[in-house]
């Protein structure tokens, strides 16, 4: 399985389908420690992404082109904090993905770009109960996998399972960034919605490879 432009397009569409399916679950997570709009906002954004992709008849030459379309569409249609955060994540990922096909190290670069975008915009660090707690371990795991000679697809699988563990670990954390931080200690016991949706996006990236998620 090669990670090419068609993969990137499938990733975007798989993401849209998975976010739509998880919409209520994300709303419920956000209702507990935020304001309950994360599922709605992301779903609106990814449905817009699908519409945008449908308007582009021919596949663009580079993976970065697809990711840039995802980025600008999310930025202009999601709103809330997650719009600029995911928008910037995909924008930075697009910048380092000016390729027709990704090898294992290019997958790492894509994930690193996404993480950099999120931290540049949101200024959160690991342990603050945000999407960084999913993306940061994902990048670490991807680096290890790529260095050990894993295939591009297996790099994504490693990233996804580390992200999932990171998202679960946010349950025990006190939020110190974003709207959940207003709750202080009361944020303990709830999974961060942004970390949860990050896992869904990485699962979609794996599914787009055609491998078992």
């Amino acid at each position: 399985m090669t990670l090419d432009v068609a993969w990137a397009q499938r990733w975007a569409r798989e993401s849209a389908a998975a976010i739509a399916a998880a919409k209520d679950e994300l709303v419920e997570l956000d209702r507990q420690i935020g304001d309950g709009d994360h599922g709605e906002n992301l779903n609106r954004g990814f449905q817009a992404v699908v519409l945008k992709l449908d308007l582009i008849p021919d596949a663009p030459p580079l993976i970065g082109d697809v990711l840039k379309t995802v980025a600008t569409t999310l930025m202009s249609s999601v709103g809330g904090a997650s719009g600029p955060l995911y928008g910037t994540a995909f924008l930075r990922a697009a910048k380092v993905s000016g390729l027709a096909e990704l090898d294992a190290h290019a997958v790492v670069a894509l994930l690193e770009g996404a993480l950099e975008g999120i931290t540049a915009r949101g200024k959160a660090q690991v342990g603050e109960k945000t999407m960084v707690d999913a993306w940061s371990p994902a990048v670490d795991a991807a680096v290890l996998a790529a260095d050990a000679g894993a295939s591009p697809e297996d790099v994504l699988v490693a990233a996804e399972s580390a992200a999932a563990a990171g998202a679960e670990a946010t349950i025990a954390l006190v939020a110190t960034k974003g709207r959940a931080s207003y709750l202080g200690e009361r944020s303990i016991g709830h999974k961060d919605p942004g970390a949860a949706s990050s896992v869904i996006l990485l699962q979609a990236a794996v599914r787009a490879c055609g491998a078992p998620a």
Partner: protein
């Protein structure tokens, strides 16, 4: 859920369109992207004022567009920040060449989206200053939170900075006045009930009938703690004390006392709260020089109220008194 709406997806646009028709002497509405602009466009030689944020807080912000206040308001989806591509035309429309002050309530989403839009506007040659309003003492301003939230104090920032712009102050001066208002205003709120976001369809949090939530925000998010329901006088004291403590208001100082309704509390109850807050201030020797009571920064149909105190000096008082002609505030 019972609401006077057609389709949850269209509630904001339909409401803003109706607002535009109702107040066509004051504003112009653009539908794509959604914007509320002062009628007649940017005023030559005047600094433009732009604010925005999620819908659901009406009359904030569109109700404050007009002479003496805002030049543009950018409404997002309910409780959701507008997007950068929507904020950008608001910033450029408000610019007459004298620059624009963006008034942003301190929420991660609003700050990030405005930050992105301001970068884009500056690329187009618009000078933009930003003031972030964070008057809510219910949230600790520390490294461990996203910082205090912007709530009802936003009305004071928009009114007073608007008056400064109207009298011809330059961008740096208008921004400095706005920052001075923000530094001297504090608020704290209480919720008696949660509110229901139209596209969610159920209450934003669960609050038992016999409890109230102290330190509530304006997006249906829970507050700092819950207490058994108590009398208006007791609750008013619980809201006012932390405000005065944080603001360090001294005996003999002049203040504006603002009791704001969250949308679902009758005016009569707001005056019961005002009465006690006014009494408590007088007991402390603080002079209530100006007042405002009503639903100005709401949280849909939430029942509850907030108490805001702004420390006044002569200039801020004069700017507060300056003429204003908007849908929601006029004198």
């Amino acid at each position: 859920m019972k609401k006077l709406i057609n389709d949850p997806e269209h509630v904001v646009a339909e409401s803003v369109e109706g607002f535009g028709w109702a107040h066509s002497d004051i504003v112009e509405v653009r539908l794509d992207p959604l914007l509320v602009l002062r009628r007649g466009g940017a005023v030559a030689g005047k600094v433009g004022l732009v604010s925005g944020g999620g819908a659901g807080h009406e009359p904030l912000h569109a109700g404050f567009v007009g002479v003496g206040m805002l030049d543009a308001a950018v409404p997002g989806a309910v409780f959701t920040s507008p997007t950068p591509d929507q904020i950008l035309p608001g910033l450029t429309a408000a610019d007459s060449g004298s620059g624009v002050l963006a008034i942003v309530k301190n929420y991660t989403g609003d700050v990030l989206n405005f930050e992105t839009a301001v970068e884009l506007a500056e690329d187009e040659g618009v000078s933009v200053a930003v003031v972030v309003v964070d008057d809510d003492v219910a949230v600790k301003d520390s490294l461990y939170t996203a910082g205090r939230r912007g709530v009802a104090g936003t009305v004071a920032v928009e009114k007073i900075a608007g008056a400064a712009a109207e009298r011809g102050d330059d961008l740096a001066s208008v921004a400095a006045i706005a920052a001075r208002v923000n530094a001297n205003v504090r608020s704290m709120g209480v919720a008696l009930t949660a509110c229901t976001v139209p596209h969610v369809g159920r209450p934003s949090f669960d609050l038992p009938d016999d409890e109230v939530e102290i330190g509530i925000g304006i997006h249906g998010e829970p507050g700092r703690h819950r207490i058994p329901a108590a009398s208006a006088d007791v609750i008013t004291g619980m809201l006012l004390d932390p405000v005065l403590e944080d603001l360090e208001v001294a005996r003999g100082e002049n203040v504006l006392l603002f009791v704001n309704g969250m949308g679902g509390t009758p005016q009569s109850e707001l005056y019961v709260v005002y009465r006690q807050a006014h009494r408590l201030l007088e007991e402390r020797g603080i002079i209530v020089a100006r007042s405002l009571v009503g639903n100005y920064v709401t949280s849909l149909e939430m029942q509850g109220a907030s108490v805001t105190v702004l420390r006044l000096d002569d200039e801020l008082t004069e700017l507060w008194d300056a003429p204003v002609h908007t849908a929601a505030l006029r004198w």
